[in-house]
Symmetry: C2
C-alpha cells in the first residue's frame, strides 16, 4: 500500500480551472464572506495532511481488528477515537454546516474534496463523521428551532455523533413496509419501539452521545411510504441546557460481520419505548430523508472514487517498482533482471483505465457538487431551480456509476499486484472489499438506475434530460472545435436517440424502465464522463503554452482525455443496443424456469 | 446460501446432446471399455451427492476458521480431513488418471463436471485434490518409469497429495528469474535449496505425504526460462517399496493471509537441501509444466463457473423468496406486503446475466474438455493435432473469460441480496472473495490474453484462428438457418475483421499485442459464447416437440439464448473499437506522468 497523497493539484484543477467554483463563491452573498480560493486551499492542505498522516495509517489495522460489541456498547479499533478527535477539531464534521448553529457554511464543491480524501484514507473511518454531517443536514432542513439549537452545534463540533436508521430486516429498498412504531407521549415527545438493522455508526465509543434519526410509523399512519415519520432519538437523553440526562432506551443488539469496512460499526439497534422527537411533519419522513439524499448519494459516489484513487496510487507505485518480464520493444532497464511492469501494455491499460475514470469521476462529482451549491446559494431563483433539477437527474448517476467504477478500478488495482494483490498485508484486496458496499447501501445501484430512468427521465417526459443535453451542446458551441467536439456530439446524439426510444417504449410497456435502466445509466455515465473529459481537455489545452512549468500536468490531461475517448467511451456502444432491446428477453422466462 | 444442487440436467445436456461426448467415448479404443453414458451418469450422481452433502456444508465454516500454522505443520479446518477421505474413496482424485498406475482413465469432458461441482461446493476444498491431479498429470507425462510407479498410484488413490511450486517472491509471471537451486548429488537425486511462495496445498494435514513439483535451476543452467528444471520433492522421503522413510528438508515457513479461499493453505515453503528427483529433461522444466497447463487452466476457468453457479443458485432462491416492492405491471402477490423481487426487471437482468453466462460457460468449458479428449484419445493423428491446436487457442480464453465472468456473476449474485449480500453469514460475499483468486493464479488473466493474441494468433499468422472460424462457419452451414444464424455469422465476421486488423498492426508495432490483448480476448469470448448458445439452441429446438415432458427445459434454453444475443453479445461492440484503436493512447503517457 502506497502512502496516500491527496491529489490536491487535480482537485484544484477541477474546482477552479474547470468549474470556476471560486468565482461563484465570490458572487454568492452566503459564501463571499466565508470562503475564497486562499481559504479553501489552506483548508484543503490541512485536510490532506490529516487524511494522509492520521487517518490512512489506521485503515489496515482497523480492518484486522474490527469493532467490538459488549452489553455496555461498541468499541472502535485502536486509534479511532484519537483520530476522530483530530478530525472534529479540524472542523471537518461541520464544514458544510449551517453557520447559524456553528457550522462553517462551506460549499459542497469544497467539502466534496474532503469526502474523497477521507474515503481514500479509510472508508470505514470516514463513515462516522459523515453520517453525522448527513443527519445534521436533515435536522437543519426539517427540525424545529428548539431541536436545531439544541443538537446542531454539538453535531457540527463533533462532540456528538449521529446515525440514520431506516432499514429493518424485512424492509430495505421498500421502506413503506417498516414496522417500527411511534406513540405520541402527549408531552411533545414520542415513544419509539422497533428494531433497525444495518445501522452504520449506530453505536460506538467515539462520542458521548449518538443522535439517531429513526423512521417509524404512528398508529393511525396510512399504509406504505406516505405513512412514515422521522424522529430524533438520542442515545442519551438531553436536558434543555444541552447537558446529558439519563440513558434512553436505545440498545445495540449486535454487530454485523461484513465483507469489508470492518472498522465501521454496522449495528442492529433496538428501540424499546425510546424517547424521540418528531422531525418535520407527521407522515412526511421520507420527504425529509430525500432532502439529504442527494448529498448522501453524492458522498457515496465519492466513496467509490476515493477508494479507487487509493487503489490507483498503490498500483502505480507497485507497477513502477516491480520488475517482471521485458518490454515488447526491448529491455528498458537492461542492467536489471527485468523491466518494471509499467512497460507492459496491459498493465498500462489497467492503470490508464483507473486514471481516466478517477479523474473523470472527480470532475463529475465536483460538477454535481457545484450544482448543489448553485441550488443552495444562488440568489437567482431560475438558476437555483435549474440546478436543482440537474442535481436530481445526475445524483443517481454519480452514486451508481462512481461506485460501479470504484469496484472495477479497485479490482484493476488489485490485478496489477498479481498474487500479492490477493494477500491481505498489501492492502489492495481490502479496498475491493470496502468499496463493494458503496454499490449496495444508500439505495442499491439498481434503485439508482430506476430513479434515473423512471423518475428523472420518463416521469417528466425527458425534460431534465433535454436540459442536460442542451448544456453539453452549449459547451460544444461555445468553444473552438477540437479533437473531442465531434466525438462528444456523436456520443450525445446516440444517448438522445436511446432516451427517445426508451421514452417511447415506456409509454406502452411498464416493464421497460426496470429492464433497461441499468444499461441506460451506464450509457448516460460514459457520455457524462466524455463531457467532463472534453471540458478538462479544453482547459488543459488553453493552459499548455501559458504555464510551461506545468506542461506535464496539462499534457497528461490531454493524453488521458484521448485515452478515455479511444478506449473507454466505446463501451457505450453495447449498452445502447442492449438498453433498447425491449423487455421480452427479460420477462419471457417464467420464474419457475430460472 | 442455498443448498447446492449440481446442475446435472444441464451437464448431461452439454455433454451428450450438444457435444455427443458419449458417442466419441464409444469410438475411441482407450475409452470404449472404460466409460459409457450409464457409467458416467452414475458417477455424476455420486459426485453430485458428495459435493452437495459432504463438501458444500464445510465451505462457510472453513472460511471463518481458516488454516492453522505451527512449527509441526499446517492443520486444515474442522471436517476437511474426513471430507478429503470420502473424496478420495470415491475415486475422484484419480478420475482422469492413467489406468496403468491406478487412475480411472475417465475423459476430461466428464471430469470437468466434477471440477465444476466441487468448485461450487467449496473452491478452497477442491484445490487440495485438484493440485494432486494436476501434479500427477505432469509426473505421468514426464517422469521416468521408476518415479511413476512409485508415486502415481498413491496420488491417484488420494493417499498422498501434491503441490506445484513455481512462484518466488521476486518471480511470478517471469519464471526465468527464479533463484531456487538444484545440485546433483551424483546418486540419481538432487539437492534443492530455495524458497517458494503462494504454494497452494504446499503443507496440510490431509495426507501423510505431500509430493512437491519444484522448479529450480542447476548450477550451469542457461539464464532465463530455458534454464529451468522440474524436480519431484517429497515432504517425507519414500523408500523403494513405497513406504515412508525420514522427513525431507521441506518446511512450511508460514501461511499467507488472503482475501478468500481461506481454508486452502497457501504456503511459503523452504527447501533446505531437500532431496529431489528430476522430472523430464534437464532445463526442460517449463515444457513439463506446459503439458499440464492446458488442463490446469481449464480447471481454473471452471472454478469461475462453479463459484458463479453457486452464487446464481443462492441469488435465485433469495429472489424468489424475498418480497420487496411491487411489479411494474401491478401486484403479483396482492395478499403479501410486497412481491418477490424476481418480478423486477433489473433483478431479472442480474439473474439472466448469470444464467446465460453460466450455461454458456458450461458449454464452452465442456467443449474445450472434449477437444482435450480428442487430442488425447483420438486414433486419428490429424484430428488429434487439430484438436490440440484448438485447445491451445481456446485455453487462455476459457481460463480468463470464465474467471472474469465468474467475478462479475458473483458480484451480481451478491447484489441481488442487497445489504444482506454484504453480510458474511449469507455466504454470497465469500464467493466474491473466493472467485477473485482465479483471475490471478495459474497465469494472470493479462497473461492469458497475451498468450491468446501473441502466441496463439499473431505468432502463427492467425492459422489457429482461421480453423476456429471455419469450424463455426461449418456449424452454421450444416444446420437449417434459424434466428441465431445471421447474428452469429455477423459477430464472427466482426471478430475476423478485428483479428486481421491486429495481425496487420502487429507486423509494424511490437506493442499492439500487449495493449490490445485484453479487449481482444473478451471480444473473442463473446463470439465463442454466441456459438455455444447457437449450438445449444439448435439442439433444444430440435427436441422441443419430441420431448414434451422436458419442454420447460428446452424452452428455457431458447429464451436464454435469445437473452444472450440481445443483451450480452452487444458488449463486444465496444471491445472491437477499443481493441483496434492502436497503441498510441496506451503508450503515449511517460511513466513519470501517471
Amino acid at each position: 500500500m502506497a502512502d496516500y497523497q491527496a491529489p490536491l493539484r487535480d482537485m484544484r484543477f477541477v474546482m477552479y480551472e474547470v468549474f470556476n467554483a471560486d468565482k461563484r463563491w465570490g458572487q454568492w452573498p452566503a459564501t463571499q464572506e466565508l470562503v475564497d480560493r486562499e481559504t479553501a486551499d489552506a483548508f484543503l492542505e490541512e485536510g490532506a495532511k490529516l487524511a494522509a498522516r492520521t487517518v490512512a495509517p489506521l485503515n489496515r489495522e482497523g480492518d484486522e481488528e474490527g469493532c467490538h460489541w459488549s452489553e455496555e456498547g461498541v468499541t472502535t479499533p485502536k486509534g479511532y477515537k484519537a483520530a476522530y478527535q483530530l478530525y472534529s477539531e479540524a472542523g471537518l464534521t461541520g464544514v458544510a454546516g449551517n453557520p447559524e448553529y456553528g457550522g462553517m457554511g462551506m460549499p459542497k464543491a469544497l467539502s466534496a474534496q474532503f469526502d474523497e480524501m477521507f474515503s481514500s484514507a479509510s472508508l470505514a473511518f470516514t463513515l462516522y463523521p459523515n453520517l453525522t454531517s448527513g443527519a445534521a443536514l436533515a435536522i437543519d432542513a426539517h427540525a424545529c428551532e428548539a431541536l436545531k439549537s439544541l443538537y446542531l452545534p454539538k453535531l457540527y463540533s463533533g462532540e456528538w455523533a449521529a446515525a440514520m436508521c431506516l432499514t429493518e430486516s424485512h424492509s430495505g429498498t421498500d421502506l413503506g413496509i417498516i414496522k417500527t412504531r411511534a406513540q405520541d407521549n402527549g408531552d411533545g415527545s414520542y415513544s419509539i419501539t422497533g428494531t433497525k438493522i444495518f445501522i452504520t455508526a449506530g453505536e460506538h465509543d467515539l462520542t458521548e452521545n449518538i443522535i439517531h434519526l429513526v423512521l417509524a410509523k404512528l398508529p393511525d399512519a396510512p399504509a406504505g411510504p406516505k405513512g412514515i415519520s422521522m424522529f430524533l432519538v438520542p442515545k442519551v437523553n438531553v436536558n434543555k441546557d444541552g447537558s446529558l440526562a439519563d440513558r434512553n432506551q436505545v440498545q445495540c443488539g449486535s454487530l454485523e460481520h461484513k465483507m469489508g469496512i470492518k472498522a465501521s460499526a454496522t449495528c442492529v439497534i433496538n428501540y424499546d419505548g425510546a424517547k424521540g422527537y418528531l422531525v418535520g411533519e407527521v407522515n412526511k419522513g421520507l420527504n425529509a430523508m430525500f432532502t439529504m439524499m442527494n448529498y448522501e448519494r453524492l458522498f457515496v459516489g465519492i466513496q467509490g472514487l476515493g477508494t479507487s484513487e487509493m487503489s490507483y496510487q498503490s498500483a502505480l507505485e507497485y507497477a513502477l517498482d516491480r520488475v517482471q518480464g521485458r518490454s515488447a520493444t526491448g529491455p528498458q532497464q537492461p542492467e536489471k533482471a527485468a523491466d518494471p511492469i509499467i512497460v507492459h501494455g496491459d498493465v498500462r491499460r489497467m492503470l490508464l483505465n483507473m486514471k481516466a475514470l478517477n479523474e473523470g469521476g472527480r470532475a463529475f462529482s465536483t460538477y454535481v457538487a457545484t450544482l448543489l451549491d448553485t441550488a443552495k446559494f444562488s440568489p437567482d431563483e431560475t438558476e437555483r431551480k435549474q440546478a436543482s433539477e440537474q442535481v436530481g437527474l445526475l445524483t443517481p448517476v454519480v452514486k451508481a456509476f462512481l461506485t460501479d467504477i470504484g469496484l472495477e478500478s479497485c479490482v484493476s488495482g488489485q490485478q496489477v499486484f498479481g498474487g500479492h494483490g490477493y494477500i491481505r498485508e498489501w492492502g489492495q484486496e481490502q479496498l475491493v472489499r470496502d468499496v463493494r458496499i458503496a454499490q449496495i447501501y444508500e439505495g442499491t445501484n439498481g434503485i439508482q438506475a430506476l430513479d434515473l430512468l423512471g423518475r428523472k427521465v420518463v416521469m417528466n417526459g425527458g425534460a431534465s434530460f433535454k436540459q442536460f443535453a442542451a448544456t453539453i451542446r452549449r459547451f460544444i458551441a461555445e468553444g473552438e472545435s477540437d479533437e473531442f467536439s465531434a466525438p462528444l456530439e456523436q456520443a450525445l446524439a446516440k444517448l438522445e436517440t436511446l432516451t427517445n426510444e426508451l421514452l417511447s417504449q415506456a409509454a406502452n410497456d411498464p416493464n421497460v424502465v426496470n429492464a433497461s435502466c441499468n444499461d441506460y445509466l451506464h450509457a448516460f455515465s460514459y457520455v457524462s464522463y466524455a463531457w467532463m473529459w472534453a471540458m478538462m481537455a479544453r482547459e488543459a489545452q488553453a493552459r499548455l503554452s501559458a504555464a510551461a512549468q506545468e506542461d506535464d500536468f496539462y499534457q497528461a490531461k490531454m493524453i488521458t482525455a484521448r485515452y478515455f475517448y479511444k478506449r473507454l467511451l466505446p463501451r457505450m456502444e453495447g449498452l445502447l443496443i442492449s438498453a433498447a432491446s425491449g423487455t421480452e428477453t427479460v420477462f419471457e422466462l417464467p420464474a419457475e424456469q430460472f
